[in-house]
């Protein structure tokens, strides 16, 4: 873990040492995760997307008139839930996973800097480290059961739904805490002056590694697919 943080810091330091124009920004926004999760063994179930937060620092270094390199160390939440449907509606399991994330992007400026508004397209790769998780849900308590006869004389069982909310306990046999993936997106900047800008960015993050280690010990894969919308404040150094 500390080795990874050191590597990220070294990458930032390299960017800062080059001579080209450098900007630093703070970004914050929302994440929207639509994971690709195999739930084929579950009847009456559906994977639902989840919202979360994201914030990052954005170190950007121009490498030519149109191109710049961006490094965005930050934190991103990648949430999702599995909800039962039909007769089992009400049962759900939500995971809120928090990642330390380090995307490295190549950014291309689409217009000339004549006005105050600039447009960018960008793509690259990222590494993320699964920092923490929380599991929230409701499940029928197998002992919280009562029985009654309905109006048609049929016996029915009534289950008490039990709510839970607990920190995820990492298990090396199941959890893959390192995540690699690709990312792409776009940005719009508004320049207040030569040194201050406001940004609106939308980025998509596709993990190429599953959060769960290979089957069968942990089941089939779970691949995060995250949209991120954030606003930032940029200082051009």
């Amino acid at each position: 873990m500390y080795k990874k943080i050191f590597s990220a810091a070294a990458l930032v330091a390299c960017l800062l040492q080059t001579r080209a124009q450098l900007s630093v920004a703070a970004e914050a926004g929302l994440s929207y995760n639509m994971p690709d999760a195999d739930i084929s063994n579950m009847t009456s179930a559906r994977v639902r997307p989840g919202y979360g937060y994201a914030f990052a620092l954005n170190f950007s270094k121009s490498i030519s008139h149109h191109f710049s390199l961006q490094l965005l160390p930050g934190v991103q939440q990648k949430s999702f839930s599995i909800r039962r449907t039909g007769d089992l509606k009400g049962i759900y399991m939500e995971q809120r996973n928090t990642y330390l994330q380090l995307p490295l992007l190549l950014r291309y400026r689409l217009n000339h800097p004549a006005g105050k508004v600039y447009y960018y397209a960008e793509m690259g790769g990222y590494y993320a480290y699964w920092l923490a998780g929380r599991e929230i849900g409701e499940i029928p308590d197998i002992f919280g059961i009562s029985s009654r006869v309905n109006s048609t004389g049929q016996r029915q069982e009534v289950f008490q739904l039990e709510h839970y909310s607990a920190a995820h306990h990492f298990d090396d046999r199941v959890d893959r805490r390192d995540e690699w993936g690709w990312t792409a997106g776009g940005e719009v900047h508004y320049g207040f002056n030569k040194r201050r800008e406001l940004s609106l960015a939308i980025r998509y993050y596709q993990s190429l590694t599953s959060r769960q280690k290979s089957a069968p010990a942990s089941g089939s894969g779970q691949y995060d697919r995250v949209w991120n919308l954030s606003i930032g404040y940029i200082i051009v150094l």
């Binding site: 089992l88 197998i142 016996r155 008490q160």
Partner: protein, 376 residues
């Protein structure tokens, strides 16, 4: 606890595995379906020492060499399934074959492990001996459940100072609520009335779940809910959170909930259990032991502590493999309030008293007598 309630018809048991073709192409397909089904549905991969991956490596070629149209190979397949499942610790685990040529076959690993044990004994119908200890006026009776199981219950006082209750299966609430008049209704009325009024002189309550194979989980609140005035925490359950071997939900506290008009028991409670106290009977023992002023006398229980429920309700539990067999396995992993999991081991008594067949045949029940001696 969440305030929501969920309603299910009892008859909604169904296979929860991905839809399989109507019939397998080979016995290797049957093996794969079982092996994968156990990956997802079996709960004890966190503590079971069976190397399931090695099982796959070893048995896949053996099944591949079998012909499902050859009755001798079918028998051989049953033997392989028995071997590969033999070490699995789930005390409920059983495989009931439904294939027309194998209908007399069943695999029950827990029983197979117990048979060679030096203290192994056959089930004994305790009321034969124990009815002799009861004061006159005791009540007993039976009920045939909707699943055609027979339930017998008995309740009375012993020496006018102990209230004694026995049942050999748990379908008590079903019997109590049945439109058909039955003997279990009378027994439960007698028990509840005495618990409510607690006649003077009664200095203890004995719940006897020896030779009780378990039954409806709803009976835990129905029976013990009459003895407590506030929720009784007695352990934790967890379930599979998704597919795979080690994908679990967090542990969730398990409670016995009091009945609306119940008062906390003020006298000691003793639970009698033996090596044929299974499943719900073990839950009853452990819940009683979580009550203050309680004692457990008898033998270590069977070791099937994880409850079983509808196969569709959870991401685990019972499932079927083609038209070959159905697998009966726990739907929840249970951890007692002391933080230990007793699956496959059984819950041990505070005061062990070995089974005494000769004494019982002569009307002497040493385990019951030990319970009565505590009151001296």
């Amino acid at each position: 606890m969440a305030g929501l309630l969920l309603l299910f018809a009892c008859s909604c048991v169904k296979s929860r595995l991905p839809a399989l073709p109507a019939s397998p192409g080979s016995l290797a397909d049957v093996f794969e379906a079982y092996w994968n089904g156990m990956n997802d549905n079996y709960l004890y991969w966190d503590i079971d020492t069976t190397d399931w991956d090695r099982v796959h490596t070893v048995y896949k070629p053996l099944f591949a060499a079998l012909n499902q149209d050859d009755p001798a190979d079918l028998r051989k397949a049953v033997g392989y399934f028995r071997q590969m499942s033999g070490g699995l610790i789930d005390g409920h685990l059983s495989i009931q074959f439904t294939h027309p040529l194998l209908k007399d076959s069943m695999i029950y690993p827990a029983l197979n492990r117990k048979l060679p044990a030096p203290d192994f004994h056959s089930p004994f119908p305790y009321p034969r001996a124990d009815s002799g200890y009861l004061d006159s006026g005791y009540v007993s009776g039976g009920y045939v459940t909707t699943d055609q199981d027979r339930v017998f219950a008995m309740c009375g006082t012993i020496q006018r100072r102990c209230l004694y209750f026995y049942c050999d299966k748990f379908a008590l609430q079903e019997a109590f609520g049945s439109n058909q008049v039955n003997g279990v209704q009378q027994v439960m009325r007698y028990f509840f009335n005495n618990i409510k009024t607690m006649p003077p002189g009664i200095r203890s309550v004995i719940i006897d779940v020896r030779n009780n194979a378990g039954g409806n989980l709803v009976d835990l609140n129905f029976l013990l809910g009459a003895l407590i005035s506030k929720p009784l925490a007695f352990g934790y359950t967890r379930y599979k959170g998704g597919n795979g071997r080690l994908n679990y939900t967090p542990w969730i506290a398990a409670y016995v909930m009091p009945k609306d008009d119940a008062r906390a028991l003020t006298v000691p409670i003793i639970v009698l259990a033996d090596s044929y106290s299974i499943s719900m009977a073990e839950a009853t023992v452990m819940a009683v032991k979580a009550m203050p002023n309680s004692y457990f006398i008898g033998e270590t229980t069977w070791g099937a502590t994880g409850p079983v429920s509808d196969g569709a309700l959870y991401n685990d539990g019972p499932f079927s493999v083609y038209n070959y067999f159905s697998v009966y396995t726990s739907s929840a992993e249970f951890k007692y309030i002391d933080g230990r999991i007793y699956e496959g081991k059984g819950f041990s008594p505070d005061i062990p008293v070995p089974f005494d067949a000769a004494g019982l045949l002569n009307g002497r029940d040493r385990q019951l007598e030990k319970a009565l001696s505590l009151l001296q």
